[in-house]
């Protein structure tokens, strides 16, 4: 009853891949945005709103916007395909993109918590010791953001495993390409004899989610302790 079928294994590994790719691609962007959002500049409020939009929009709407922008005939999608040969619609890469957009605000929120605890005086101290702006960022700010970065990455990974609406709208539900764990669960529910499979996949999703949250909490506490907070 609890043994996974080959198709279910495929959905699980695909989910892990998609979530991992989205997290890795999102990290530099999220760090930059989280850092930028602690500073004062023109248009900060607008940037903040845009970044957080996926939290409040229906995921299907996000998927639709992605289709408009990144679809084969969308301005960005067309360019990517022509210049880089990167196809997003109906592919794993597209699933990762949809997941990345949806989880970006979660990641940024986790990082901002650790940035708000950061003493701006430390950067001043680094300045008087001869460190320029980039040097200060990499030698002081980034290491002190580490608990937030870790927590953000793990939360986004766990949430990314379960991204449904944006993925199915943008890249559809293709076995082996875009059928991730939640899509497989949804497909199983559509089958007349899919109850057992649905139960297995739901249990798996719950287990992965809890493991992710516990790990995020544990790691960020450990790092925070090392940083002496």
């Amino acid at each position: 009853m609890w043994a996974l079928s080959a198709a279910e294994w495929q959905a699980l590994t695909l989910s892990l891949q998609v979530a991992a790719i989205s997290v890795v691609c999102n990290l530099p962007l999220a760090v930059a945005l989280a850092y930028a959002l602690t500073r004062r500049f023109m248009g900060r409020g607008l940037l903040d709103a845009v970044v957080h939009l996926p939290l409040v929009l229906p995921p299907v709407a996000v998927g639709y916007l992605l289709l408009v922008l990144f679809g084969a005939r969308g301005p960005i999608g067309h360019w990517l395909q022509a210049k880089l040969g990167l196809e997003l619609v109906f592919t794993r890469a597209g699933a990762a993109l949809a997941t990345a957009v949806m989880t970006l605000p979660l990641m940024i929120r986790a990082m901002r918590v650790s940035l708000e605890h950061l003493d701006p005086g430390l950067e001043q101290a680094a300045r008087t010791l001869g460190a320029g702006p980039w040097d200060r960022f990499f030698s002081v700010t980034l290491p002190l953001m580490l608990p937030g970065i870790l927590a953000g990455a793990i939360t986004a990974f766990a949430a990314g495993l379960g991204e449904f609406g944006a993925v199915i709208t943008f890249v559809s539900n293709i076995p082996g390409q875009t059928r991730t764990l939640p899509l497989a669960l949804y497909t199983a529910l559509q089958m007349p004899d899919g109850d057992a499979a649905a139960a297995r996949l739901a249990g798996l999703s719950i287990g992965l989610g809890i493991a992710g949250l516990v790990l995020a909490e544990y790691l960020s506490r450990r790092v925070a302790r090392r940083l002496g907070r």
């Binding site: 005086g121 430390l122 101290a125 300045r127 010791l129 001869g130 040097d135 002190l144 940083l227 002496g228």
Partner: protein, 368 residues
């Protein structure tokens, strides 16, 4: 030599700071809280921008409003010790000490080993900042700033966040650095005791203005310092040459044309001792007293008598060798003893009331 001549406006507060800092020794910026001391040194460090004027260190211009020139803080080579230490929490003590050293391309005048020894940091090197006491943290911050081999060290009330015991623990390290390193330091403080123990020169500030500037000995006779230090700190600051010990173990010091003997709580061996002779501890006699427990009597001549705000008289006595002592007495006593400028008197000082602070002549500045 540091030349500062700046103006900075912050809301209704205007700072106009103009002073010079000698090429070696400790120059104290002394004044009440909120008078603009910290703003001034933040402008020197480049952490704040003035609204006008000029800052120059050893002929290098850091800021010039007229020429629209400004050197970034990270390129000034000016060390800064903050009130709250600001050690990097993700680095060990060793990592903190190396931070500035790794980024400095200036000639090394204070080596890692020398500073670790001078500040006694050897046993702390592998610890994290959160495992240090407040005093230890400040010592590491001072070492970190100096290891960047700065051309000038700014200290912003480094002892203000410490309790009295910790303060006494850190002060000797600062005097040691002053006497052994040939780097100019600007020390911000509103504690007269710290200034007394550390400063070779003094810049007095109040309400955004520089009131006066000079050595402590010069200023101790002036109204400006008396106002800022407070009525019960009024007194003469004398740099007395150490002559040795007498048969009973008392320290013999040359003061004016005479000699003082005071109990020694530490075995002083060399140099000068800075004495603070409070006006309230000095008694005036018109003839030498024999049947009195006060053993220190110095002959002198009254130079001036001034009425203080509190209603008492402050008598300045010239004791020779360009030195003065002050005595606070009642106007009634002035009348009864018929005191007037020019009159020969004896200043009597109770030895137990004298506080001495070791003061070696500042080391000559090495060429950087």
């Amino acid at each position: 030599m540091l030349n500062v001549d700046i103006i900075r406006r912050q809301g209704t507060f205007t700072l106009r700071a103009r002073f010079n800092v000698a090429a070696a020794g400790v120059t104290a910026l002394f004044g009440p809280s909120g008078c603009g001391k910290t703003t001034t040194i933040q402008c020197i460090a480049g952490l704040l921008a003035p609204d006008g004027g000029r800052i120059e260190l050893d002929g290098v211009c850091f800021y010039d409003a007229a020429a629209r020139a400004q050197v970034k803080a990270e390129h000034r080579g000016v060390g800064y010790v903050f009130q709250d230490a600001r050690l990097f929490p993700h680095l060990s003590v060793r990592g903190n000490l190396h931070y500035g050293a790794q980024r400095s391309r200036r000639a090394v005048y204070a080596s890692f080993d020398d500073l670790v020894a001078m500040l006694e940091l050897g046993t702390l090197l592998e610890r994290r900042p959160n495992q240090l006491s407040g005093g230890e943290r400040q010592r590491v911050a001072i070492g970190r700033a100096l290891l960047a081999q700065p051309r000038l060290l700014l200290l912003d009330e480094p002892l203000a966040s410490l309790d009295a015991a910790r303060r006494d623990e850190v002060l000797p390290y600062l005097t040691r650095l002053r006497d052994q390193l040939a780097i100019p330091m600007v020390y911000v403080s509103h504690q007269f005791d710290e200034v007394l123990r550390l400063a070779t020169a003094l810049v007095l500030m109040r309400a955004g203005e520089v009131l006066d500037q000079g050595t402590l000995t010069e200023l101790s006779g002036r109204e400006s310092l008396r106002t800022l230090a407070g009525a019960d700190r009024v007194g003469a600051v004398i740099e007395a040459e150490l002559l040795g010990h007498d048969e009973s173990g008392l320290l013999r010091l040359r003061v004016g044309a005479g000699e003082l003997r005071i109990p020694a709580d530490e075995p002083w061996a060399r140099g000068t001792l800075r004495l603070h002779l409070l006006a309230r501890d000095v008694i005036i006699a018109t003839e030498p007293a024999i049947s009195l427990s006060v053993r220190n009597q110095i002959a002198g001549r009254i130079e001036s008598i001034g009425r203080e705000a509190g209603g008492s008289d402050l008598v300045a006595i010239d004791i020779g060798a360009n030195q003065h002592v002050f005595a606070r007495i009642t106007p009634a006593a002035t009348q009864a003893l018929e005191l007037h400028p020019g009159k020969p008197v004896w200043a009597m000082i109770k030895a137990a009331a004298i506080q001495g602070h070791s003061f070696a002549a500042p080391a000559r500045r090495r060429e950087l």
